[in-house]
C-alpha cells in the first residue's frame, strides 16, 4: 500500500489520489460529501423525472423552480421569521402555487405538440421566471444560515461530519422511499402509472386525467422547491443558479433513466461520486466528468440505466 501511495505521489504526480489512498478519513469525507450532494440533487432530479414520466415533457423550467425555492427560503427564513424549516415549507407551498398556474395556464396546451414546441415553451418559462426572480430579489448573492439545530458536527467515529449534510443524506432516501410508496401503493399513484401507459384508456374509464397531470406537475415542482430550499445554506441563492442546476439534473435523470425514481437515485449517487472524487483526483475538471458519463450512457443505453426503451425510438 505504501509503495502504491509513493508511486501515485511521485511517479504519477497526483497528490489528490495519494491523499485519498493514504488518509482514510479524507477518503471517507469525500464519500459523505458525494452522498450529501447526491441526495440534494436527487430530490430535484426526482421531480423532473416524475414530471417527464407522466407528462412526457422535459421541463427546462425545473431549474428555475429550484431557484425560486432557494430564494423563498432566503426571504422567509432569513428576512422574516428566522425559522429555516418554515422557509422550506414556504418554498414547497410557493412552488405548488406556481405549478398550478403554469400547468393550467400553459403546459396543458402542449402535451400533444412536438417535442421542439414543448422544449421551447418550457424555455420561455425559464426566461420569464429568471427575470421575475431578478425583479423580486435583485442580483445580489444571499447567504442563508444553517438551521439552528444543525449548526454543529457529529462524531462518526472516523471523523466529524457536519450535521446538516448528514441530515441531507438521511432525507434523500426517505423521499425516495416515500415517492416509491406513493406511486406503488396509493390509488393516485396507480392512476399516475396508468396515465403513463395509456392516457386515453384511463380517460375512457372515467378518470379525470387532467387532474392527475396537474397533481404530478405540482408534486414534481414542489420537490424542486424543497430541493432548492434545502440547498440554500450551502448554495447561495443567486441569478444563474437555475441554468446550472438544470443541466446537472438532466445528467442525473438521463443516466438513471427518464421517469424512473430509483434511476434518478442511482444517477444522483453516480454524479456525486464522480464529481467529488473527480475534483480531488483531477482538480478543476470535475464539471466535465458528469457529461462524459452522460455521453457514455446515451451512447450505450440512451434510455438510461433504469429506463425502458421507448417504442420506435430505441
Amino acid at each position: 500500500m505504501d509503495s502504491l501511495i509513493q508511486f501515485v505521489q511521485q511517479d504519477l504526480g497526483n497528490p489528490g489520489l495519494a491523499a485519498l489512498l493514504s488518509n482514510p478519513s479524507f477518503a471517507f469525507i469525500q464519500l459523505m460529501n458525494s452522498f450529501s450532494q447526491a441526495m440534494n440533487l436527487f430530490i430535484i432530479a426526482a421531480g423532473l423525472s416524475l414530471i417527464f414520466g407522466v407528462l412526457r415533457v422535459i421541463n427546462f423550467a425545473h431549474g428555475a423552480f429550484y431557484m425560486f425555492g432557494a430564494y423563498i427560503v432566503y426571504s422567509v427564513a432569513q428576512e422574516w421569521t428566522g425559522n429555516f424549516w418554515l422557509g422550506v415549507a414556504a418554498a414547497g407551498l410557493g412552488l405548488a402555487v406556481m405549478a398550478v398556474v403554469i400547468e393550467r395556464g400553459l403546459f396543458q396546451y402542449i402535451y400533444d405538440k412536438e417535442h421542439l414546441m414543448q422544449l421551447l415553451l418550457t424555455f420561455a418559462v425559464v426566461l420569464i421566471l429568471s427575470d421575475v426572480a431578478k425583479i423580486i430579489w435583485g442580483t445580489d448573492q444571499y447567504s442563508v444560515s444553517y438551521p439552528a439545530s444543525m449548526k454543529g458536527a457529529v462524531d462518526l467515529g472516523v471523523t466529524f461530519y457536519p450535521t446538516y449534510r448528514l441530515f441531507l443524506i438521511v432525507v434523500g432516501p426517505a423521499i425516495a422511499i416515500g415517492l416509491w410508496l406513493f406511486t406503488e401503493r396509493t390509488r393516485f399513484g396507480r392512476l399516475t402509472r396508468a396515465a403513463t401507459q395509456d392516457r386515453e384508456m384511463l380517460s375512457a374509464l372515467g378518470v379525470n386525467v387532467p387532474i392527475i397531470y396537474t397533481g404530478v406537475f405540482i408534486l414534481g415542482s414542489v420537490l424542486a422547491g424543497i430541493g432548492g430550499g434545502l440547498a440554500a445554506p450551502f448554495n447561495s441563492p443567486t441569478p444563474g443558479m437555475d441554468a446550472t442546476i438544470i443541466v446537472d439534473c438532466f445528467v442525473i435523470v438521463i443516466v438513471g433513466g427518464l421517469g424512473s425514481i430509483w434511476g434518478s437515485f442511482i444517477g444522483a449517487i453516480i454524479y456525486g461520486l464522480v464529481f467529488n472524487y473527480g475534483s480531488v483526483i483531477v482538480p478543476n475538471w470535475q464539471d466535465v466528468f458528469p457529461f462524459l458519463i452522460l455521453l457514455a450512457v446515451l451512447l450505450v443505453r440512451p434510455w438510461g440505466l433504469f429506463g425502458k426503451p421507448e417504442g420506435g425510438n430505441a
Binding site: 422535459i58 427546462f60 400553459l106 396546451y109 402542449i110 417535442h115 421542439l116 414546441m117 422544449l119 421551447l120 415553451l121 424555455f123 420561455a124 418559462v125 425559464v126 426566461l127 420569464i128 429568471s130 427575470d131 421575475v132 431578478k134 425583479i135 441554468a243 443541466v247 438532466f250 445528467v251 438521463i254 478543476n284 475538471w285 464539471d287 466535465v288 457529461f291 462524459l292 452522460l294 455521453l295 446515451l298 451512447l299 440512451p302 434510455w303 420506435g312 425510438n313
Partner: protein
C-alpha cells in the same frame, strides 16, 4: 420548390445584398457593427435550420459549433499568429471535424434523445472552454483577438464579413435545394418511407448535422473577429436555445425564414435594451406568443396573409 430561385426571391436577395453593401455609407459605427452581427446570427440560424427544418431533428446544442469555430479562429490568429486564410480554413475544418464526430453518435438517436445528446456534447464543449484556462481564457473569455491589419478597420472588415456570409448563404441555399436537400425533406416528413425508397436516412441526417455544424463554425469565426474575443456564454446552453428561437421565430419550414428571425430578434433585443434591462422577460413572452399563436413563424404568417389576399381577389 425547384432547384432555381424564383425571380422575386432572387430579386429580394439581390436587393438585400445591395442594401447591406450600402450600410457603411451611413458612416455610423454603431450601425455597421449592428448589421455585421445581424448577418453573423442570420448565418448561424440558417445553419441550424439545416438540421431542424430540413432533417427534422431538434439540436439543442448548436452553440457548440459556433463556439468551436470562434475559439479556433481566436486562438490561431492570436496565440499562434496564423495568417487569416489558414486560420479561417482551420476553424472551418475543425468545426467540420467536431460536428462529424458528434453527428456520428447523435444520428444513432432520434427525437428527445437526439436533443439531449446534442445538449450533452455542447455542455462538454462549454466545460472545456470554461476550464482550459491556458488556451481559452476560461470564464474571463478570450480577449484581444488579433485581426489581420488589412481588415482591422471597421469598414473593410464589414465587407469581408459580407462577402464571406453571402457566399456561405449561397452555398447553403444550393445545398438545401439540391437533390440532397429534397432527400432530407423526405427524411423529415416520413423517415420510414424515405428508407424504403432507398435513402440512407442515417447518412442523410449525418450530412445535415455536419453541414449545419460547419456553417455555424463559419459564423462563430466571424463573431470572434467582430468582437475581438470569444466568451464561454457562446457555448452555454441558453445560446443554443436563443438560436433555436431565432429559427422558430422566422419559420423553420422556409429557407430564409431563420435569417429573418435572427434579424428581428436581434433588432428587438437592441431596442428592448434601450428601455429595460429585462430582455429575457420580453423574449420569453414573445416566445410564448409564437408557440401559442404562430407555430410556423413569421414566414408562415407571411404566407397565410398572402393566401388570404389571393383568396380575396
Amino acid at each position: 420548390m425547384t432547384g432555381r430561385m424564383t425571380r422575386p426571391v432572387l430579386a429580394a436577395c439581390l436587393t438585400v445584398l445591395v442594401l447591406l453593401a450600402l450600410v457603411p455609407l451611413l458612416e455610423s459605427n454603431y450601425l455597421i457593427d449592428l448589421f455585421n452581427e445581424i448577418m453573423i446570427y442570420a448565418l448561424f440560424a440558417l445553419s441550424l435550420n439545416v438540421i431542424i427544418g430540413y432533417s427534422g431533428n431538434v439540436s439543442f446544442g448548436h452553440a457548440a459549433y459556433f463556439a468551436i469555430g470562434g475559439y479556433t479562429m481566436a486562438i490561431l490568429l492570436t496565440t499562434y499568429e496564423w495568417p487569416l486564410l489558414p486560420a479561417f480554413a482551420a476553424a472551418v475544418a475543425f468545426s467540420f471535424a467536431c460536428s462529424a464526430v458528434v453527428a456520428y453518435f447523435c444520428t444513432r438517436l432520434t427525437d428527445i434523445y437526439f436533443a439531449m445528446l446534442t445538449l450533452a456534447f455542447s455542455m462538454l464543449v462549454w466545460g472545456v472552454a470554461f476550464k482550459w484556462r491556458l488556451m481559452t481564457g476560461g470564464d474571463d473569455g478570450f480577449v484581444g483577438v488579433d485581426v489581420p491589419a488589412f481588415i482591422a478597420e471597421r469598414v473593410p472588415f464589414y465587407y469581408f464579413s459580407l462577402v464571406v456570409i453571402a457566399t456561405a448563404v449561397a452555398v447553403l441555399w444550393v445545398i438545401c435545394h439540391s437533390a440532397f436537400g429534397r432527400a432530407l425533406l423526405a427524411v423529415r416528413e416520413n423517415p420510414v418511407r424515405a428508407g424504403f425508397v432507398g435513402i440512407n436516412t442515417r447518412l442523410m441526417r449525418w450530412w445535415a448535422f455536419v453541414v449545419a455544424g460547419t456553417f455555424a463554425g463559419i459564423a462563430g469565426a466571424l463573431f470572434a473577429m467582430v468582437h475581438r474575443g470569444m466568451y464561454t456564454e457562446s457555448a452555454f446552453w441558453p445560446e443554443s436555445a436563443t438560436v433555436l428561437i431565432m429559427t422558430l421565430l422566422g419559420g423553420m419550414y422556409s429557407f430564409f425564414g431563420p435569417a429573418i428571425g435572427a434579424a428581428s430578434l436581434f433588432l428587438l433585443e437592441r431596442l428592448t435594451n434601450e428601455y429595460t434591462e429585462y430582455w429575457p422577460l420580453v423574449l420569453g413572452t414573445i416566445l410564448l406568443a409564437i408557440l401559442m399563436f404562430l407555430p410556423e413563424g413569421l414566414a408562415g404568417l407571411a404566407q397565410a396573409v398572402r393566401r388570404q389576399i389571393l383568396r380575396g381577389r
